[in-house]
């Protein structure tokens, strides 16, 4: 299975099952497109009028070589051989601790309903948090790296407990030969020097919530009195990002129907000096006025193209930055097991409420149908866990023939449930956007690796000798 596309002057062929990415000229692009359905002689006679026969045969030889090397038209050999999803044993290795079901902002799109998650306001006690860490250690088998995200609501509203739990984790990791990686997601309102110093010492990553331009941020991320949060948080976030040497953090925004031109928000954040940026599509019920609609997809895709082209232009300059959704590693990246087995929600990743209940992930918290157990008794709803265990790209009809399946791993189970009532379906708008992002990410790799563009994107004129023969 292959995926061919043209983006920003580049003809690109992705061999889906090997993950091989080929930057090709227009002739090779056409030959590869015809290859599976036509005999070599047919291809030669079809293209002979536009390219010299010798060149066409040369490409056909190249295709054969790549095929024999396992980097083109590769068969899917993983489905039946690699993983028996039902039988695989899973361990818990990551927890999302809802340290505070309360918030000092009233963001309009909050899936946690201003921190309350369809429930009551609550802060996690040290005892519940401690039990959660004990549960994680006890259920982690021989996994050494354990992840704990302090999440909310707003975790800085329960700061002493965060600090105490980190201290407890550091003590326990020595006893049990584990390595805790703590992370924290914050809106920045309560960020100060003391918090910053602690985060820099203990947190392997921090996620800083901001949506971009002031008017965009303040519309969706106001205080409860309606005032915007931008002016207060920007200087704090800039200071924190610098104090971490512009690494191991993300400024993370959400774009909605109110700012479909979100590439401007990404560039705004970059121009504020942030180097690690993630701006992601809102997930909202279709009836919400800010929810993305299917008709918005073409415009959003244009925005991704625009952003990708700008990132290529900025590459290697002091205005260079990293966009989370365009990150892709062609020199390695995750193994095929990781790519096939989904995000891990409900199995290796669980969310813990302030009172210790376990849910498959933070997105399901508050939906009693998805209650899995608690940190005192462990996972008691094993039927639900087994359902999540089987949630992977091969369980999803829509994923089967999708070229992006090894990059999104079947997408978000919560999105799927919210839109289709099943965790093994897929959220269609999300799929279209993910496919576009994968295309852009690969194009950026091609451009920054110095691959020659086939066409000048400004004039549309052939940029290479081969293309000029057209």
């Amino acid at each position: 299975m292959i995926h061919r596309y043209y983006n920003n002057g580049y003809y690109i062929v992705l061999d889906v099952n090997s993950g091989a990415v080929h930057v090709v000229d227009e002739l090779a692009y056409e030959v590869i497109g015809l290859y599976e359905e036509h005999q070599p002689e047919e291809i030669v006679s079809r293209l002979r009028g536009r390219w010299p026969e010798g060149e066409i045969r040369e490409v056909l030889d190249d295709v054969e070589t790549l095929k024999s090397q396992g980097t083109l038209f590769t068969e899917d050999t993983y489905k039946d051989r690699v993983i028996d999803f039902k039988k695989r044993s899973t361990v818990v290795k990551a927890l999302c601790l809802h340290i505070a079901h309360d918030c000092n902002l009233a963001c309009r799109y909050c899936f946690a309903e201003e921190g309350e998650y369809h429930g009551r306001r609550a802060l996690m006690s040290y005892e519940v948090g401690k039990q959660a860490l004990d549960f994680l250690i006890a259920n982690s088998g021989n996994r050494r790296n354990l992840e704990v995200d302090f999440f909310g609501g707003e975790p800085l509203m329960n700061w002493q407990v965060v600090k105490d739990l980190v201290a407890y984790g550091r003590e326990q990791e020595k006893i049990h030969d584990k390595n805790f990686r703590f992370t924290l997601t914050t809106n920045g309102i309560l960020l100060n020097d003391e918090v910053q110093d602690f985060l820099n010492k203990e947190m392997s990553n921090v996620v800083l919530s901001i949506d971009g331009r002031k008017e965009v941020n303040d519309k969706m991320r106001p205080f409860r009195n309606g005032h915007g949060s931008y002016d207060l948080i920007v200087p704090k976030f800039q200071k924190l990002a610098e104090s971490r040497d512009q690494n191991n953090y993300y400024v993370r925004g959400t774009f909605t129907r109110n700012n479909l031109d979100f590439s401007e928000d990404v560039l705004h954040l970059a121009d504020l000096g942030f180097k690690q940026i993630s701006v992601e599509p809102v997930v909202a019920a279709p009836e919400e006025p800010y929810a993305l609609r299917e008709e918005d997809v073409p415009f959003i895709c244009e925005q991704y193209d625009k952003l990708a082209a700008e990132m290529v232009r900025r590459h290697g300059t002091d205005k260079d930055f990293n966009f989370f959704h365009f990150m892709i590693d062609l020199t390695g990246g995750p193994c095929v097991y990781k790519r096939l087995s989904g995000c891990g929600s409900g199995t290796e990743y669980l969310a813990v409420t302030p009172w210790g209940d376990l849910y498959p992930c933070h997105q399901f918290v508050g939906n009693e149908k998805f209650l899995m157990g608690n940190v005192f008794d462990g996972v008691t709803n094993t039927e639900l866990r087994d359902e999540f265990k089987c949630c992977n790209v091969y369980a999803k009809e829509k994923c089967r023939n999708c070229f992006a399946k090894f990059y999104c791993s079947g997408g978000c189970a919560a999105n799927s449930y919210n839109f289709h009532g099943s965790i093994t379906d897929a959220y269609d708008v999300g799929c279209e956007l993910e496919k576009k992002r994968v295309e852009c990410a690969i194009m950026i790799k091609a451009a920054t690796a110095g691959a020659p563009a086939a066409k000048d994107v400004v004039t549309g004129a052939p940029a290479s000798e081969e293309a000029a023969r057209e």
Partner: protein
């Protein structure tokens, strides 16, 4: 090859033998929290 430039130095089939240790980061812990993005995670053995 004159017409085709391959960007990868690694292909997925090669990860079958040694992969699956599970030590890498859980994808939703990285930044997203609303959308699953696995392809950008780093293999723990390549750090």
């Amino acid at each position: 090859m004159k017409h085709i430039q391959t960007l990868n130095t690694q292909i997925l089939q090669n990860t079958v033998k040694k992969g699956g240790c599970g030590e890498c980061q859980t994808s939703c812990q990285s930044a997203c929290k609303t959308s699953c993005t696995v392809g950008n995670q780093t293999c723990e053995h390549q750090k």
